[in-house]
Amino acid sequence: MNEQAFARRVTAHLSAAARDVDDDISARLRQARERAIAAHRPAHGIAGRFSGSVLRRLFPPVIRSAAMAVAILAVVLSGDYWMTWSRVSTLQDVDTALLIDDLPIDAYLDANFKAWLQQDSHS
């Protein structure tokens, strides 16, 4: 008889022994279980637990690391997009002001403005 088969037979006897524990012990175990369940409090509140469980079900451990990588990539790309958009938006404002000849006089008095304008038109 191999190890597994022998172990199965031994544990079958042990299971029978566990089923046959005294009524008194069964009752005390039941009380202990009920006390333990009553003492249970969700660590992060019900809502946190609910959302945690939903996330765990949506992202099982197998795809959790892949989902994390995708989330990080999405954050980086959206950050880059936002930076580009804000820079282009600023340039657009200046260009528009130049085109409609509505640039404040202070801009022409700024020593760096002409250099910036030349550098920007080259690029």
């Binding site: 037979r9 299971s15 333990a36 003492a39």
Partner: protein, 198 residues
């Protein structure tokens, strides 16, 4: 929404309760094999249940077996250490303490053979012999070294896989295999010596 969350919490509690119910008697027996005292074993199981519920009740149900076994083993070893300290003081203070271990060596099962025949087992004599076989097996389980017994029971009785058992025991998978193999060999040899064939 509140009602949904309340239902959700009830479902979680039911999940935890079902797990504890499924495991409580085996856990009690495991504790008895180490502590050899019903009251101490009950206290250990109660502590383990409370710790699981309070500290890990939010974890996914599939993690409960490994977490519970780890907590139970820690609680049982703590109780065992306390028991040993108490016994040392008792031995020092009194020379009239009986030795239960020596008494248990007078095993009446030395010539008993196991019989798996269902018809035979259903007879009063079958019940009697089955109970005695069971007692012999439990005694041999109790005599195993703690780590071997722990690995054997988790692996084969709790049906945890090698990785889970290793995580619960805080050792390598190789150690689990070694402990299980040695435990099985020791049990087989001990039962064979008593004339018990499973």
């Amino acid at each position: 929404m509140t009602r949904l969350l309340k239902d959700f919490q009830l479902a979680f509690r039911a999940e935890l309760s079902a797990f504890l119910q499924s495991v409580e008697k085996r856990a009690f027996k495991q504790a008895v094999y180490t502590l050899r005292n019903d009251d101490a074993a009950l206290d250990a199981v109660q502590d383990a249940m409370l710790k699981l519920s309070v500290s890990y009740g939010d974890r996914p149900a599939e993690e409960f077996p490994m977490l519970f076994q780890r907590i139970l083993q820690n609680v049982v070893y703590d109780a065992l250490r306390r028991q040993k300290v108490r016994n040392t003081w008792t031995t020092l203070l009194s020379s009239f303490v009986g030795d239960d271990e020596q008494d248990s060596d007078n095993d009446p099962l030395d010539t008993l053979a196991a019989d798996s025949d269902a018809a035979y087992a259903s007879t009063p004599h079958g019940h009697y012999e089955r109970a005695r076989t069971l007692a012999a097996i439990e005694r041999e389980i109790e005599r195993l070294p703690n780590r071997q017994r722990e690995a054997f029971l988790m692996r084969y009785w709790e049906e945890m896989d090698i990785a889970e058992t290793a995580a619960a025991m805080g050792c390598s998978e190789g150690s689990v295999k070694t402990h299980c193999s040695r435990a099985t060999q020791t049990l087989a040899a001990a039962l064979k010596a008593k004339g018990i064939v499973l």
